[in-house]
């Protein structure tokens, strides 16, 4: 059986690099992508020039700007990054049918069954052609050649760099891509896995976080080599059978996790949204408006995927970063923004808030089930509500997410703040002054 060749591709400082590609004046300068300067968001990404000053992803924006006051702050543009990522993943899909999207800027590619050579000799101008697989039956594609080709294509089409790791499995490939950044290429073949892990700090492995690292430190373990020496029975005692087994395998560089193409990715177990407020909210009305906005977005996603949620979860982060997470099982699965708002507000009212300033709110729906065949609402009021929701969805399908909203939201600051940062609704708002009765409107009659 041939050795598996898994590639992990990690875009370098992705959001900041996209901004630098779009705007040549930003190249070579410290760039922080985050919220607006007046917003209390976090650093989404910093360019390598900003990282040199200690700016890191996830740190509060204010702290990032204190470390690097000369940094140029760019408000994040989700649409720009998501579209770039989608096109990059499409390119990678030309190389192998097995591309697993790990995050917006990371993917795993299984080359095991891809045959080479991957592309004809480079065409004039030195530009890479799009590769084809199956070019030479019987010979497995050279993973290093494939990695160089991917990097060249991404640089050519997007002016972006990526770091690539190659290994016999996802664990080692991800480790390898992080060893040399930016623009790196590291291959750890099976024969070198043990040597690569021997002195590696345990938290360099994907999946080992600060808590596990702390527990391992209590056992005197700091490196993967040290972890490999711990008897598996002791790992079972400390971490349980499943996590103990997994840790033991990880210490040997073993991972059986398959590369799951994004077309076969399992359905989401929950759907949620969160929002960091522009200023700490002390007013119940502000909190309710924010929860309503998040609930409307969750409901919309549920309906689009024809799902319903039986559990509603509310996350409340106070000004001092104290965070409360509470959930409540609903009597029946729900998918409307109004029902999710009602459930989330009931949770909020049970939390004993006592007017403390709120920094961030999150709402999600879990225990998802397919809505399937259209459910019959028993009462006229419910049927009317369902017709209204369906009409609103048709309007949003046609004109965009910001085209229509409950009046309490449409004129709220939180709605404007949220969409200003997400980049939606940037063109002229479309509004129609109605003089005809609703039944004359094809949208409300169900015609689009």
């Amino acid at each position: 059986m041939p050795e598996r060749h898994i590639l992990h591709i990690d875009m370098d400082a992705f959001f900041a690099s996209v901004e630098q590609a779009a705007n040549p004046r930003l190249r070579g300068k410290p760039v922080i992508v985050g919220g607006n300067r007046s917003y209390r968001s976090v650093v989404a990404t910093a360019s390598y020039e900003a990282r040199a000053f200690g700016v890191k992803t996830g740190m509060p924006l204010g702290e990032g700007l204190r470390l690097c006051p000369q940094a140029i702050l760019i408000p994040g543009d989700t649409a720009k990054y998501a579209d770039t990522a989608r096109r990059i993943f499409t390119l990678l899909n030309d190389l192998s049918p097995a591309v697993e999207v790990f995050s917006i800027d990371e993917a795993f590619i299984d080359l095991t069954h891809v045959h080479g050579p991957l592309s004809p000799p480079a065409p004039p101008m030195g530009l890479p052609r799009r590769p084809t697989f199956g070019g030479c039956p019987g010979s497995v594609a050279d993973p290093v050649e494939a990695a160089y080709l991917m990097k060249a294509m991404i640089r050519h089409h997007f002016k972006l760099t990526a770091s690539v790791g190659i290994g016999p499995n996802k664990l080692i490939a991800k480790l390898a891509s992080g060893l040399k950044k930016p623009d790196g290429l590291v291959w750890i073949p099976q024969a070198q896995v043990q040597a690569a892990l021997e002195n590696l700090p345990v938290d360099e492995l994907c999946g080992i976080g600060p808590r596990t690292k702390g527990h391992l430190l209590n056992l005197g373990v700091t490196t993967c080599g040290g972890l490999a020496q711990i008897p598996i029975r002791l790992l079972h005692q400390k971490f349980g059978i499943i996590w103990g087994d997994l840790l033991h395998k990880m210490s040997q560089g073993v991972s059986e996790s398959p590369v799951v193409p994004y077309t076969q990715a399992p359905e989401a177990k929950s759907m949620g949204h969160s929002h960091t407020l522009n200023h700490d909210a002390r007013d119940r009305e502000d909190i309710e408006t924010t929860i309503q906005m998040l609930a409307e977005k969750v409901g919309r996603r549920l309906r689009r995927d024809k799902m319903q949620g039986k559990v509603v979860t509310l996350v409340v982060r106070l000004a001092g970063f104290e965070t409360f997470v509470r959930q409540e099982v609903q009597p029946a699965p729900i998918d409307s923004g109004a029902a999710i708002t009602q459930a989330a507000m009931a949770i909020f009212d049970d939390m004993g808030w006592r007017g403390r300033p709120v920094r961030m709110l999150g709402v999600s729906a879990g225990a998802l089930t397919a809505r399937g065949v259209r459910q019959l609402e028993l009462f006229e009021e419910e049927r009317g509500e369902r017709r209204l929701i369906e009409a609103l969805d048709r309007i949003r399908d046609k004109y965009g997410e910001r085209a229509i909203a409950p009046a309490t939201l449409a004129y709220s600051q939180v709605w404007d703040d949220h969409y200003a940062l997400k980049g939606h609704g940037r063109l002229t708002p479309r509004a129609v002054i109605r003089e005809s009765p609703p039944e004359a409107d094809p949208l409300l009659r169900g015609e689009s």
């Binding site: 996209v18 590609a21 779009a22 705007n23 040549p24 004046r25 760019i74 408000p75 649409a79 720009k80 998501a82 579209d83 770039t84 002016k159 949003r396 399908d397 046609k398 004109y399 965009g400 997410e401 910001r402 085209a403 980049g423 939606h424 609704g425 940037r426 063109l427 002229t428």
Partner: protein
């Protein structure tokens, strides 16, 4: 300096195959020649596909948006030094 504009504008563009290349636009009664399209991306607003262009006139960077459904252009943002 990043300035939000959000203004409908007139744009001269070349449409060839599936490619669109803006070549000039009029803003503040001035015709701005586009020297380079530095980046493109797209998004949807409802049924409308919105094509975005980051363009340079050699001095500033402008972000233009083409609503492919209504065939209208907007100048969204301007990035200039200073």
């Amino acid at each position: 300096m990043l300035e939000r504009i959000h203004q409908e504008i007139e744009v001269g563009a070349i449409f060839k195959g599936h490619q669109t290349r803006p070549v000039w636009f009029i803003w503040n009664k001035r015709k701005v020649p586009i020297q380079e399209v530095t980046y493109t991306w797209s998004d949807r607003e409802g049924k409308a596909r919105i094509q975005y262009f980051a363009v340079s006139d050699g001095a500033n960077i402008y972000e233009l948006a083409l609503d492919c459904h209504e065939l209208t252009w907007h100048l969204l943002r301007v990035y200039s030094d200073g």
